[in-house]
């Protein structure tokens, strides 16, 4: 009697093991398919663009139309310029709004701001570009780096706001209480204790938002517009890597197309570096403050 029982159990066990293997196989398959585009893209970029990477690429200006040679130095510098200015505008506003949202949950104003931020995150970036065109480029009378930064900042702010809010909310309520109980006023508690504790997570959010806007192309088309030369002031058009890649890629010139691949590779490299850098600094852990 006992023998029959164990045989029946063994058969069921083998069936379960088989089922396990099938499911595992399916999930591994799904993972591979998910990762495939990443590696395909990176691989193809490397294949097409690596050969064009040389010192000239990083230091020389674009050559006149039709000529071979030249580089994308101004575009690389331009991208840094635009992102930096966008950050200077967007980070204080975004972090401030995020802290407000976290500390004043439940008020109508906070709910309204949160809703607006969520909607903004869904607005297509080209629409943001048109918006920046209307409020900056038209009044100023021309394309400019400033307009480009405004467009990028508009994309950055809702991202930073939401991640800041999440990070500040993760700070345990007991820390706030402990600070208040020491006789520290509310505003000081928020800044020196709560925000300071969440700072790691906030910084992470900022860097990720930066990585995102570094690759934005559409909003820059109507604002920064692009430039074949070094731009000297904020009021004039400036070259940016994504725009340059776009312009070169749709051109009929083979040399420009080759350079477009290189530009795309450099752009992807910057974004990857930022993302991996964040991972390395936070040690791969969840960004919860302890």
């Amino acid at each position: 009697m006992a023998a029959a029982g164990t045989i029946a159990i063994a058969a069921h066990y083998r069936y379960r093991k088989a089922k396990n293997l099938v499911m595992m196989g399916l999930t591994i398959f799904a993972t591979v398919i998910t990762l495939a585009p990443l590696f395909l893209v990176l691989g193809y970029l490397l294949y097409k663009g690596a050969s064009s990477l040389n010192l000239a690429f990083f230091t020389r200006l674009p050559a006149p139309v039709g000529e071979v040679g030249g580089g994308m130095a101004n575009a690389i510098v331009g991208t840094f310029e635009l992102v930096l200015m966008a950050g200077l505008m967007g980070v204080p506003i975004g972090v401030g709004a995020g802290i407000y949202l976290a500390e004043h949950r439940g008020t109508r104003l906070a709910d309204g701001i949160r809703f607006a931020a969520d909607v903004m995150m869904g607005v297509p970036s080209i629409v943001v570009g048109i918006f920046a065109y209307a409020i900056v480029v038209r009044p100023m009378g021309g394309f400019s780096a400033f307009a480009g930064s405004v467009a990028l900042a508009t994309i950055m702010i809702p991202l930073v706001t939401r991640t800041t809010e999440e990070m500040v909310l993760l700070v345990p309520h007991e820390l706030r209480e402990a600070s208040l109980a020491l006789g520290v006023p509310r505003w000081r508690t928020t800044i020196s204790v709560v925000a300071r504790t969440a700072m790691g997570g906030i910084a992470t959010g900022v860097i990720l938002a930066t990585a995102r806007i570094a690759g934005e192309t559409a909003p820059l088309l109507f604002t920064a517009f692009g430039n074949h030369f070094w731009s000297t002031s904020l009021k004039g058009p400036v070259a940016a890597l994504p725009v340059q890649v776009y312009t070169y890629a749709i051109s009929p010139f083979a040399d420009w197309q080759r350079q477009a691949w290189a530009g795309a590779l450099v752009l992807t490299g910057i974004v990857l570096a930022l993302e991996l850098g964040v991972r390395a600094v936070t040690g791969g852990q969840a960004r919860t403050p302890r």
Partner: protein, 253 residues
Amino acid sequence: MPDKILVHHLTAWFGAVRAVHDINMNIPQGNITAIIGPSGCGKSTFVRCLNRMHEVIVGARAEGEVVLDNENIYAPEVDPVQVRRRIGMVFQKPTPFPTMSIEDNVAAGLKLNGVNFSRAEKDEVVERCLKQAALWEEVKDRLRAAGGSLSGGQQQRLCVARALAVEPEVLLMDEPCSALDPISTARIEELLIELKANYTIVIVTHNMQQAARTADMTAFLYAGELIEFGETRQIFTNPNRRETEDYITGRFG
């Protein structure tokens, strides 16, 4: 013993729910007063009213008088922030500030209140408070280490040192040993008995034996009301009220 805090008709609400009802109590100076009672009886709420922490919660309010040395802390012109500098609090969960070192944690109360001090003054305060909290010997060689690197019991003593640095007159403790093991608990209890020479201490505890071990006076709260308040010895051997007797003998349903 003169009375340090006089509580008159204290009532506290969370929104429309009344958590504490018409409590009258005289808390003697230099004593340990324990507040005991079943879960949800309002003991934490009551104690938080003593340093005006209760109103920090959205929708919470308190009415009545709490008189600290002839001054009603609920008078309209009184600044709650000032009250909390005279009446400190240590919470159930040890919460050292994670971004600060041990010595910065101790000095945090002073620093965040805008008090300027030199390096030497800071060292002096840190050493004094850590010694008072019976933590000095264990951390004196690693004052720069992160506040979170200590064990649970040490973290709680760090929180006590931090509260003491502000030089309060009264120390409120809301179940300070709930999250600690028995040895750490015993250390903190020993600490309280040392501290009562210089401070008035009010401790909330759901552990009756802790109240019996440490407190001079004990108050029994039930359903938001003060049922009985008297010397610990009497409350635990021969209480006056039937409800108190039932609670301490474990007959609560």
